[in-house]
């Protein structure tokens, strides 16, 4: 018996004092790719070395968009990672940036090419492209604050951009409110995939409209977006009401059991 107790104590001490890490049970770290390995290494040109760090702070990173999704190539094979045979496209020319980003952002590309910005780029090869406003590897989630005097005044006066920002403001605020409520519902354990998809599509369509830089078109179509958002908002409100009902109903059941407990307690005293 004594030996067994010592065995038990020693076993417990082993895992209390055992040195660090780990079993590799947590297969959870972001997966490395050939692109990240090279760009992170000391051998990389300093100008390209910050790219992984910028990307890891980006909206693309948060949405699992990796290097090869834009630049092509094979991230699993260091030797062939930059081979054209594996679809490596490299860095686009300045005037080719819209088509480069437009591989994914199809609707936005169309509106951009038809806009003053797109036409200017086509005509002079030096008008604003996607990177001018959004940046590249460190790209953040777009919002209307991208339209600001400092940025827009690089090329033209701010008046027209300001009018457009005002036209977008109400819808943008609605999107933000609906998203905040969705986040709240998600935190409360409600599955919101369908609503998230709807709002994602509505927002994407709305963002597409930005790129037309056409104030009157934006004003005309804003009502449609607001109506869609109000439908989601109505659904959110009904889910909030349902959650409130659930809370009250289970609190009522709790009180029933507390009451029954009190009755039994009083009975036991008689």
């Amino acid at each position: 018996m004594r030996y067994l107790l010592w065995l038990l104590i020693i076993s417990l001490m082993v895992f209390i004092c055992a040195p660090l890490p780990s079993l590799g049970l947590e297969d959870t770290a972001a997966r490395s790719t050939a692109c990240l390995d090279c760009h992170d290494s000391e051998m990389m040109e300093p100008a390209f070395r910050d790219i992984p760090a910028d990307w890891k702070k980006s909206w693309h990173f948060q949405n699992n968009v990796s290097c090869h999704d834009c630049h092509g190539g094979d991230p699993t094979d260091a030797a062939m990672a930059m081979s054209p045979e594996r679809g490596f496209a490299g860095k686009p020319e300045y005037s080719g940036v819209p088509e480069f980003c437009g591989k994914c952002h199809i609707g936005i590309l169309k509106n951009y090419l038809e806009s003053g910005h797109g036409k200017a780029l086509k005509a002079s090869q030096s008008g604003p492209n996607c990177v001018t406003c959004h940046g590249s590897h460190g790209i953040q989630k777009a919002n209307i604050n991208i339209i600001d005097e400092k940025r827009c005044s690089q090329c033209h006066t701010y008046e027209r951009a300001k009018a457009m920002k005002q036209a977008l403001f109400a819808t943008e605020k609605k999107i933000r409110d609906v998203r905040d409520s969705l986040r709240e519902l998600k935190a409360a354990g409600v599955f919101t995939e369908e609503e998230e998809k709807t709002i994602f599509n509505t927002e994407a369509e709305f963002r597409t409209l930005f790129h037309s830089v056409d104030v009157s078109l934006i004003k005309d179509r804003s009502d449609g977006f607001v109506k869609k958002l109000e439908q989601i908002e109505a659904r959110e409100k009904s889910v909030f009401r349902e959650l409130e009902f659930r809370k009250n109903f289970s609190a009522f059941l709790m009180l029933v059991f507390i009451g029954l407990g009190a009755v039994i307690f009083l009975l036991s005293k008689t």
Binding site: M1, R2, L4, L5, L8, I9, S11, L12, V14, F15, I16, A18, P19, L20, P21, S22, L23, G24, L25, E26, D27, T28, N64, K186, A187, A188, G189, V190, F191, E193, R246, K247, N248, F249, S250, A251, L253, M254, F257, I258, L260, G261, I264, F265, L267, S268
Partner: protein
Amino acid sequence: MTGKIKNWLEIRIGLDELIRTQLTQYMVPRGINIFYTLGIVALAAFISQVVTGFFLLIYYIPDTEHAFGSVQDIMSEVPFGWLFRLMHAVGSNLMVAVVMLHMLSVFFMGSYKKPREMTWISGAFMLLMTLTFCLSGYLLPWSQLSYWATTIVTSIPTAFPYAGEFITRMMRGGETVSGITLNRFFALHVTLLPMLLILFIGIHLFLVRRIGISAPPFDKVAEKKKLWIAFRHEDHPDGHAFYPYFVQKEMYVLMAYFALMFFIISFLPTLFFPEDANTPADQFKTPAHIKPEWYFLAAYQMLKLIPNKLLGVSIQVALTVVFVLWPFFDTKEEENILKRPLLLFVFVLSLITWVGLTIWGQYS
């Protein structure tokens, strides 16, 4: 009418005698406390799981394409489906807590000693079965959390040379967690485990009634210290009547159990549902921080700390064997743990270590 039914039963099963011998004249020891009611609370918790599980089973679809959606339908479309699901999920956690507390109190009271070794072993097996219930039920919603937690847990046997890979493949039904794993866990959860647990509950209750309820060791009279050299039922002629005294105590604690369950459902509904529990399983997307449920956190943290996986798993298996067979390791007659400082030290140290590892596992 009631009298007629009573008379009908009296003639057929001797109802009066049954009530007299099993309830009103069946005596429980003096000094019995609320910890003695945890067994019946665990039984009630299991019945609650069976009832709520039955309703979930009506709407749940054990298929990778539909499992997550069917659980969401239960939560949002089925009238009061949310209540049954939350009662089932919260109830499973509370049931583990109650069974653990029951085992702890039995250990502390020394009630596992001769002649109750089989009662302890059947109880220990029921705790292990309860944990297996939780593990198998965890996968069924087919969420990111359930998928990856199961991936981690089913990889543990690979620590063993030769047979490890085979055990993991057998549990998963292939190399990775898939629809086959879901079907296996589902079958285990709704058929084999309930049958086994009911069998063990029967054995456990039979043993408790056959041997008699053990009196708390702290104020035992000399009579209790008679040597067990032949079978005898432990009577408590100076004790309290099982009914109404002990039944009232049991009912009181049962009400507290369900009040606690509805408190959690009402005010902490997401306590056992982190965000990944609300995201459909995606085998190509590993979530950032997957952790097992609280009752596995100590074991999980221990495995993380021990550098050698085989050593870690072996220690856990050894500790489990020691736990199940504890009455055969501790054969001293003294039941009062307060008179056995070394045992008390091991008990407290084990408890502190378990709690410490659980907290460490949660925040590491």
